[in-house]
């Protein structure tokens, strides 16, 4: 008995116990630090006479927001102001993602071009805009380019477009009585076209007869649109042309200076990263694939679209997703040029109410939600393009 006891491992050297002890220690430290910070914050808030809570969101905001996609007046609540900010963040995010992808793919392919000049120009573009801070670029676009446009009284006029240091005005769609019907018909037509195309392709593969799937699907789509025209007897929309009234734009759609600067900077900056990813993805497709498809007699364009691209996209999607997330997060810098997105609104609310913890927590939650949504969408894409292994 005695002997047994002395050879038994003491509990502090037992590998089954050590992890548990370590974790308990970790939890204790975290809890102590957490409580310390929390009590500090609570006493601090008490001293300032602020009660922690989110009920201030229903108070009247009393500040106006220059650029809004949804109805908002200074009489609305802080919550409404936040919504305006979130919509603006999403707006610059989506526009930025689409444009940056287009520019990025073009530049990425240019970097592999067999034309020496195109290759060099795209390399210089990438190196310059990758290696300078985004905030500096934003200020260059905003202060040194866009605000230097002519004054609104002496505006530049490119057809229906107006360019001045008050922003750029574009013609915009105006709904007519038949717009809803048009939208319904075009969606139905699009679905029908896609269904017919895939049916015909299947038939062509099975029977070997040439069925012209592309032509048929286009014909079906145009047919439904003609039907819509017959029923509504009006155009799908009317164009609303901008005009200048005094020192303001009237009608059309105005891109504000802040939005333009932000969009330009985000697109240019992110496109350099996307370009590098696209280049890497294309280069990662093994050379044998290209040679094999050439040996099979495929056209260059078919090789690109059916052989290289499907393989490259698998490599490209995950890093491009994180670039999209970066773009959305970087849009928070828009507050530097006065574009009222989420962080800008939250700063205004914070200054008015002094509620730091609540406002910053709100912003964090919104960004986390946006990140999760973007990740989910990109994961769906990723699954679609994933290699199906035998």
């Amino acid at each position: 008995m005695k002997n047994e006891k002395s050879t038994a491992t003491p509990f502090w050297r037992d590998t089954r116990v050590i992890p548990i002890l370590l974790q308990i220690l970790f939890v204790v430290i975290v809890v102590i630090v957490g409580t310390f910070l929390f009590t500090n914050a609570m006493t601090g808030l008490d001293r300032l006479g602020i009660k922690f809570g989110f009920d201030f969101l229903s108070n009247t905001a009393f500040f106006d927001i220059g650029e809004k996609e949804i109805e908002y007046t200074p009489k609305d609540s802080y919550f409404r102001a936040y919504l305006v900010g979130i919509v603006n963040t999403i707006k610059v995010g989506i526009a930025g993602i689409i444009l940056a992808s287009i520019v990025g793919v073009l530049v990425g392919i240019s970097r592999l071009s067999n034309n020496w000049l195109v290759r060099k120009v795209s390399t210089i573009y990438v190196e310059i805009f990758r290696n300078t801070p985004l905030l500096v670029q934003i200020f260059i676009w905003y202060l040194a380019v866009i605000l230097q446009f002519p004054k609104i009284e002496e505006e530049m006029n490119l057809g229906p477009f107006f360019i001045s240091n008050r922003g750029t005005a574009l013609p915009w769609f105006d709904a007519t009585s038949g717009s809803l019907l048009w939208i319904i018909f075009s969606i139905v037509g699009l679905i029908a076209a896609v269904v017919i195309r895939s049916r015909l392709i299947n038939k062509q593969i099975e029977t070997g007869k040439i069925t012209h799937p592309g032509l048929w699907s286009i014909a079906v789509f145009i047919g439904t649109l003609l039907l819509a025209l017959l029923i509504t007897r009006s155009a799908p929309f009317t164009l609303d042309y901008p005009s200048i009234n005094g020192r303001l734009y009237e009608g059309g759609y105005t891109l504000t200076t802040g939005f333009q600067a932000m969009l330009l900077a985000l697109v240019v900056y992110t496109s350099t990263y996307i370009a590098e990813i696209v280049r890497g993805g294309i280069q990662a497709v093994s050379k044998g694939q290209v040679e094999a498809s050439k040996a099979l007699g495929l056209k260059n364009s078919t090789t690109m679209s059916k052989v290289i691209f499907p393989q490259a996209i698998r490599i490209i999607i995950p890093p491009v997703t994180s670039q999209y997330l970066n773009l959305i997060k970087n849009s928070s810098l828009a507050m530097a040029v006065g574009f009222p997105e989420l962080v800008y609104v939250s700063q205004t609310v914070l200054n008015q109410t002094g509620r730091a913890i609540e406002n910053i927590t709100l912003v964090i939650l919104v960004y986390l939600t946006l990140s999760v949504i973007t990740s989910i969408i990109m994961n769906i894409f990723n699954k679609k393009f994933q290699l199906v292994e035998r």
Binding site: A144, Q148, L325, K329, V372
Partner: protein, 404 residues
């Protein structure tokens, strides 16, 4: 008959002397044909891009040399680079630079290869700034002293490879030395952080964030791969939350929330920004390191276990060196990103180079000179970021050679 003729054709080349390739496929013309005018579409592209590039270059050239008024930069160069750092204490920054140039010279002496590009760039910068016409005499002397230090220590390092150890100790101690010289720490007259500014502040913030986030990131990465569930999920949540939010919100936390949490203790704004940048960078660093850890084959773990190493030794001597080496490019990319991100501190009111530039543009005597000031800032960042990227590529190449 056709059989005969083909035979004759086959034999002919053997008799003739080797014909040189046609003129159109060698030399300048050949290069042009191959790289710029290989097909009509390519020729069209060349003409369009070439014309656009020519006019753009011409516009940039005329602006830089004739249009731009660079006096705004030359007048305020000190302000842009060191902010409101007191003039009588500037010698401390110069001494620090001497120290770094000595270290750089030594490393260059025995390192060569990769160090070449760094040393040439820094030396070139010093040489150019020495020739600038508008700087004061004392500044010029300091610059010449720095250049001389760089070169003389290169020869010392080259001649006596034994100084390697001293150099490493020097690099290791450089961080506390920097803080001591810039702040004073009671021995030298104190220069409080609200006087730190300019490009010096950007570099300081970046260096602190880089140095501190490295070990923190490794710990977080190891924690994320740990088998202990509580530690693991703590690390996962930290990394994912930080990576999901913009840096601005972390900086706002440092500015608005930190004073609340510390219970009324004044938190220095510069220190707050350093903490924020470090915490932010650590999450990204952790993901980079995790990538390296995942790339290690299982055999490495098993082999070190078979050798009887405990988990600490396995991690420190087997796993981490290989994992970190595998992700050097990603880590350098992260360093470049954090260096560029230091400009964001102007949003919480610190006087970094960009904020100083913006305040200069607002002055009535410099009105309309936005482009000059901002382009100067962009160029300064570009030099350092491009240098880092270049070194990273070189490093990657030399390391992959070692692997073969």
């Amino acid at each position: 008959m056709p059989h005969m003729s083909s035979q004759a054709n086959l034999q002919q080349p053997q008799k003739r002397a080797e014909t040189p390739p046609p003129k159109t496929s060698v030399g300048v013309i050949g290069w042009l044909r191959q790289n710029l005018f290989s097909s009509w579409a390519n020729s069209l592209l060349t003409v369009i891009v070439g014309t656009a590039a020519f006019f753009l270059l011409k516009a940039i050239f005329t602006w830089v040399f004739f249009g731009a008024e660079w006096h705004v930069v030359s007048n305020e160069l000190n302000f842009l680079l060191i902010g409101r750092y007191p003039e009588e204490e500037v010698w401390r920054i110069w001494t620090l630079l001497l120290f770094f140039h000595a270290l750089l010279g030594l490393s260059w002496g025995f390192g060569k290869g990769i160090m070449n590009s760094i040393a040439y760039t820094i030396g070139g910068l010093l040489f150019i700034s020495m020739l600038l016409p508008f700087i004061e005499m004392s500044t010029r002397i300091w610059i010449i002293a720095n250049l001389a230090t760089l070169i003389s220590f290169f020869f010392i390092g080259h001649k006596f490879p034994k100084v390697k150890k001293i150099t490493f100790v020097g690099w290791f101690l450089s961080f506390p030395i920097v803080i001591f010289f810039i702040n004073g720490l009671g021995i030298l007259p104190n220069v409080s952080t609200n006087l730190w500014g300019g490009f010096m502040l950007n570099i300081l913030l970046a260096v602190v964030a880089i140095v501190c986030s490295f070990p923190l990131g490794i710990l977080l990465a190891l924690g994320r791969r740990s088998k202990l569930p509580i530690v693991k999920y703590f690390c996962v949540i930290y990394i994912e939350v930080i990576r999901g939010i913009p840096l601005i919100t972390v900086l706002f936390m440092a500015k608005f929330m930190l004073p609340l949490f510390t219970g009324g203790i004044e938190v220095d704004e510069v220190v707050g920004a350093m903490v924020a940048l470090t915490m932010f960078s650590a999450a990204y660093m952790a993901e980079n390191v995790r990538g390296g850890l995942q790339s290690l084959p299982r055999g490495q773990f098993e082999a070190s276990q078979a050798l009887g190493l405990n988990s600490t030794y396995t991690t420190v001597f087997v796993v981490l060196p290989q994992a970190l080496k595998a992700v050097i490019p990603a880590i350098v990319g992260q360093y470049i990103a954090i260096f560029k991100d230091t400009t964001l501190v102007l949003i919480i009111g610190l006087l970094d180079i960009l904020e100083i530039g913006l305040s200069m543009i607002a002055k009535p005597e410099y009105i309309g000179l936005d482009m000059e000031v901002l382009v100067f800032g962009a160029v300064v960042f570009f030099i350092f970021c491009y240098l880092m990227a270049h070194v990273s590529r070189r490093l990657e190449k030399s390391l992959s050679v070692g692997n073969r």
